[in-house]
Symmetry: C2
Subunit: 406 residues, 2 copies
């Protein structure tokens, strides 16, 4: 017997038939003798409908009221799923965030979970009752409903699994696991049986939408074993777990890409101490996250070119900030490029193996792809390339690291 | 300065523009220096949508889960109305039933309010903050959400007004007050400035949809002055109040009618002691409310005819029950008639004036309308007549009692 937290997203509970399908999935785990808590999102489209109401009422709304409105989506789903389970003869009851309670801070709209009081729920689980828990929401210290921000239900599930000391947290979604890369781009992409927290975190940060970054961080911190699997197909998924649990480690476990990039080059910046602070200070104040940075060697010792990347959506604002600070930064001109993508190679095996980056550079060079910027971390190498080469680069790297399915 | 509870139903908050309109109405009361609590229903259509989900999931659902689902409708409205008030510069916050809390019993789906803890809300009102309170819902002793049943928001408003010791409870609706009769039938119907609790209660019981019966009972019990007025037109409404507050008492204040009637006659029932118990026992056990009853004089001393009325929707079930108990009741045959209506004359003045019923009988007789059954109470006379005469009867009585507008 195991204690399991199951999580189903909006698509998986998108209509009455799908809620019934989820109930059958839950029943199967109960019939197998497991203690089960289920975390669910709002029915797909529901959160957008509710947010639409808020947007229509006020441009700048009180986030406490926003949370009161938007959190109802999950409350509807838990009630309906509990009913659906009962019709299958499964003892079940719904729990809102405030009923458990799931305590959060008061950062309405993007609250963080502080603690979960599992005393009652844990007792009910032990009695064989399924707990159907509203994801995405909690109770602030002001006794008002909070929400965790978009995708927060993953975080709710992992936090609940940690608090309940669950053996596993199964995240059911519309993909059936974590792949070596996007199967829409590389037909030979393989589903991974296991992936480390660290690698999953890099994948999530790089824009893979399988799991929300914060939920992976939480899983890693509390060592919650997370399984990603399909709500529609009955297939084994991918287990996100500790490195120790992975016997056959691969050098590289995945190739990720992100289209959400823009490149900015400041030409002929006066090369004197404090240059980075002068450039990036204003951007940081404007809440713009600069990612990759490269500073070219100054030929004359007088000036230098500085290139960096940032989220594409922030480009216009960044250019405005740079213009505003033209004098203090002291550059000749600014060049912006939105036709770039970031391609990354991820793998914990890199830690102990040299030459991983070299394989990447060689593979790209062989296809005639020019690398514009490079950045590395302990388990990742990222390059910025022209957007048009994106698919070609991902396929070439997938092959180069031996990830292609047989 | 007064303390006022305002209540707006589903039609009044049916879309974003209407919610804005409600916000303006509330602001006007705030600007006039009043302390204001607002009770709102779900946006029109919303409760039906949510109930539809429940019906689709299960034929017999857990009413605790039903309450979790259906109560979200009001929660959405309170958040949106609080936002709308804030955009008008009015300090406001939303309150769910469990936040206040409004304590109820555990009769999920049709709970009764036990007590309302107004300590915090009262303090906020005194500070000038508008309390936007979800109607129709409360918190059961099991810490789960309860709902009060259809139309329960009226009851929420009156109960809150009683608990807050409010000077008035204003019920905004899609009619602009209480009329002497249905203006769709009698063009000369007049809006009443004031009506007693007792008369309003009779009107509500007789099917007038202006106020829910339970809310009138509660207003009468706690002597809450209730005003019924239009949410769309800026007109004076009708005050429901104590008899003492009404200076110019009218003999009859209204003519009500109900189409929700069916008549059953049992022919040749053996006339011996216990006959009523034998007939009405099975119906009572079947939860069928019998209304008017008449037992004809037995000509031969052996048998009698018994006629009674019941809600039209229960007729089929009642006939089945009578058939099942044919032997024990011992009747010859049963005749059912759905083409009947109940027309009632209501007025507290009847208590002290004789001849009110006589005026009714004379007026109907003059129009050639046959009275099938009669029943009376202290402040009401009801007659059952053939459905086709309904409009004619209501108009004749309206004139006979001098209610026609000039």
């Amino acid at each position: 017997m195991a204690r399991i937290v199951m999580k189903f997203g909006g698509t998986s509970v998108g209509d009455i038939d799908r809620i019934r399908n989820v109930a059958r999935r839950v029943k199967a785990e109960v019939d197998a003798g497991n203690e089960v808590a289920v975390v669910v999102s709002a029915m797909s489209g529901e959160t957008n409908r509710l947010v639409g109401f808020c947007d229509a009422i006020a441009e700048l709304y009180d986030t406490r009221e926003y949370d009161a409105v938007v959190s109802t989506g999950e409350q509807v789903t838990v009630g309906l799923l509990a009913m659906a389970l009962q019709t299958l003869g499964v003892d079940a009851r719904s729990w809102t965030g405030w009923q458990i309670p799931i305590h959060t801070d008061d950062a309405h709209g993007k609250a963080r979970i502080l603690s979960i009081d599992t005393s009652v729920v844990s007792q009910r689980l032990a009695q064989g009752q399924v707990a159907v828990v509203a994801g995405f929401q909690g109770l602030g210290t002001d006794n008002r409903i909070t929400t965790l921000g978009r995708g927060g239900s993953d975080t709710s599930a992992v936090a609940l699994a940690a608090a309940l000391k669950a053996d596993r947290c199964d995240i059911y979604t519309d993909v059936d696991g974590v792949y070596t890369t996007d199967p829409r781009i590389v037909a030979k992409a393989r589903k991974l049986h296991r992936i480390t927290y660290e690698e999953m975190l890099e994948q999530a940060s790089l824009g893979a939408k399988v799991l929300q970054t914060r939920s992976v961080e939480m899983a890693m911190k509390h060592r919650v074993r997370v399984q990603v699997l399909s709500s529609f197909k009955d297939l084994p998924g991918t287990l996100v777990c500790d490195e120790d649990e992975i016997v056959e480690k691969e050098l590289v476990s995945g190739i990720a890409y992100s289209r959400d990039e823009a490149k900015v080059t400041l030409m002929a910046v006066a090369d004197r101490p404090g240059i980075a602070a002068r450039i990036f200070g204003p951007l940081a104040e404007g809440n713009i996250n600069v990612d990759m940075i490269v500073q070219n060697i100054s030929a004359d010792g007088q000036s230098t070119d500085v290139t960096f990347t940032l989220p594409r959506g922030d480009l216009a604002r960044a250019l405005k900030l740079l213009e505003d600070h033209r004098e203090s930064i002291n550059y000749q001109k600014v060049i912006a490029d939105k036709a770039v993508v970031k391609v990354s190679v991820i793998g914990v095996g890199m830690r102990s193996h040299a030459g991983v980056a070299q394989t990447m550079f060689a593979a790209l060079s062989e296809k005639g792809i020019n690398i514009q910027v490079i950045s590395t971390s302990e388990i990742k190498v990222s390059v910025l390339i022209a957007e048009e080469y994106m698919e070609l680069a991902v396929r070439a790297l997938h092959t180069a690291y031996g990830l292609d399915a047989a």
